[in-house]
Point group: C2
Chain length 384, copies 2
């Protein structure tokens, strides 16, 4: 923005009506904006205030949290809108300019919805947000981008690997590993960028709430919207990830990091489609995993009855309860992705598990930050 634009912007701010001025003055710039972008802002009622310069456009909307808000044009071509109060946490959003859904130029970009998307963080109280907030007084791990070559795909692949702060100084210590998967239309960046996983791990490790661990985030081969590939079945969608994970990713991680590589020290969890991938991978390979988490996902396996799922694995509750050290299900109270139904079926089958409800949240990242925060203290704490 140059000075002229800023002058126009200031004039524009001063000229808006009283409808939302009361909150405008106290609204703060969203943490998810690019540098120097003043809008969007969030006010004390958790309403988001959007603004974009589009003097030639005929119709501009904001698309956020399942609702499209018409924006209003002023005489200088600035369009603005204020949302209803929003649920706290991270939301993808788009600006719709004459029918084209695009990223707000003021927003950082996040991979979600099968494409790069805008995003806005609606802050909750500092106390509630503390577990995923950067704390300058705790040691910080690193998130490492690693490239490896997949012979299965005949292509370069990328994963992100969180190593705890102490990894750099304890050169002889080996660590358990959590494989953590994103959902449909997202990719290996999601847990770090939208999920704030590094802050969650740093804070829990520092307080002793979870054990120091390595966390691996790879691409689940489901980064587009199901249906985009003609002829692809639901069973095929993302299924190519499991053999890559088992035969290439895990060996790569165990070779290149100081890992504890037995089943007692390997966990997998995922959100939404990543929860489905987690069940598909772990429940068919319990020789390799003993800690399992599904956040708002993995409902499909109930379709034919729990007894028939995964070669009857749930019909022998004693063996399952002995083999699986952690079995975690979580979901937001405002979504309907079936973790509650899975929990009911598991209870009926005598399968021990932890069920968590994130109060007030939808099928969104705050649900999954909370799920991760609940899941981490449970894993890698079995008696060896």
């Amino acid at each position: 923005m140059n000075k002229t634009i800023i002058t126009i912007l200031l004039a524009s701010v001063l000229s808006v009506g009283n409808a939302y001025c009361a909150n405008e003055s106290e609204a703060i710039t969203a943490s998810t904006n690019v540098p120097e972008a003043q809008y969007p802002k969030v006010d004390g009622n958790k309403r988001a205030h959007f603004r974009i310069h589009a003097p030639e456009a005929n119709n501009v909307k904001v698309d956020i949290c399942g609702k499209k808000y018409d924006m209003t044009r002023d005489n200088d071509g600035w369009w603005s809108a204020v949302t209803n109060p929003l649920v706290v946490g991270f939301h993808y959003y788009f600006i719709i300019v004459d029918g084209v859904s695009v990223i707000d130029p003021s927003s950082e970009a996040f991979y979600g919805c099968g494409r790069m998307s805008g995003g806005i963080e609606i802050p909750e109280s500092a106390e509630a947000a503390a577990y995923y907030t950067f704390n300058k007084d705790v040691p910080h791990g690193q998130v490492r981008e690693c490239k490896y070559y997949s012979d299965i795909e005949n292509a370069e692949r990328r994963c992100f690997v969180y190593t705890p702060a102490e990894y750099e100084v304890n050169h002889d210590k080996k660590y358990p590993v959590l494989y953590l998967q994103h959902g449909m239309g997202e990719d290996e960046r999601g847990w770090h960028q939208q999920g704030m996983m590094a802050n969650i791990l740093d804070n829990q490790i520092a307080s002793g709430k979870c054990v120091p661990m390595i966390v691996v985030m790879d691409y689940g081969n489901c980064g587009y919207i199901f249906g985009s590939r003609p002829g692809e079945t639901r069973e095929q969608f993302g299924a190519s990830f499991t053999p890559i994970m088992l035969n290439e990713l895990i060996p790569y991680i165990d070779k290149n990091f100081r890992t504890l590589s037995d089943r007692d020290n390997r966990a997998m969890a995922g959100l939404s489609w990543g929860g489905h991938e987690t069940f598909e991978t772990t429940l068919r390979n319990l020789d390799k995993f003993s800690h399992i988490g599904s956040f708002s996902g993995a409902l499909f396996f109930l379709a034919n009855g729990i007894d028939k799922a995964y070669d009857g694995i749930f019909t022998n509750a004693d063996k399952f309860n002995s083999d699986v050290h952690t079995f975690f299900l979580g979901m937001g109270s405002e979504e309907n992705f079936g973790s509650d139904k899975i929990s009911d079926a598991l209870n009926n089958a005598g399968i021990k598990h932890t069920y968590y409800t994130s109060e007030g949240t939808h099928h969104e990242w705050l649900t999954w930050r909370r799920c991760l925060n609940e899941f981490l203290p449970l894993i890698f704490k079995q008696k060896s």
Copy 2:
């Protein structure tokens, strides 16, 4: 995209005129697209083919390489355009929808131009691109995202740190460090994402062309367009980075990585405004640096004559030539950012340096990939 959209897309492809069909059939999907996005494509004449669905828009353009191309609408609301042959390498680009400049929904997003931007890679020959291409047959380093707290800014900061592949196995070896800066309107992601620095380092280290080193990429506090902050002078723009680098970043890196921390083993280089920051930082602190590179940058210091620059540092050529082990300047042949003028002035002053011209390239990332490729073999090779 759902099946309907794909059907429309296919029909649209089949119905376009012959004006560019000859190349359309051989065009390949750009490597910079998001998964499943077929367009933009690049044809054998290095022309980019863009396509976007915007049935309600009145005017759609593509803005790339300094030229705006009108897009043409078909009956189904798909707009398309083909560019002139483009220079090879990475280009930022935008789609302009009824006057609003936005990221193409088909593109990955890159931080540049003071905001998230679309980007397209126009491939050059495999031979020419080999040095920055992922090679599955060489060991790969890691790019680590590190967070640290700045007391100067009273805020969390982020840097990316490349460690060579051998860093993980040679636990007692210490490494020289290159601090590598982005340009105006970019940030600490640029060198890794647009600049392909990890591939360049991996390939050079594997072949012995450069020595194994750590590379640190931090935010140069110039990630917006100069003029956006009312009252900020050119001297102030980005200048807050130097004290942070000297007093916080370098100590953080030396504490958390196995570094050689003497001046013989510390380099700094930057592109465009990052070149200016490099001169401002190194030439005032030669006790801390002995290898210096400026790619398409750092012209301002000549304004009052080279003798007056940096407290007269260039007036004692013998001392400068003895103190500075590497002094590198580079620029694209098609840009006018003054590295040639600096080189002339340095020659007149008897200052030893290396001057490199990237043939055929502009003020863009391929120039800087090439500059880095030329700079790396020169550094950290002085007799100790």
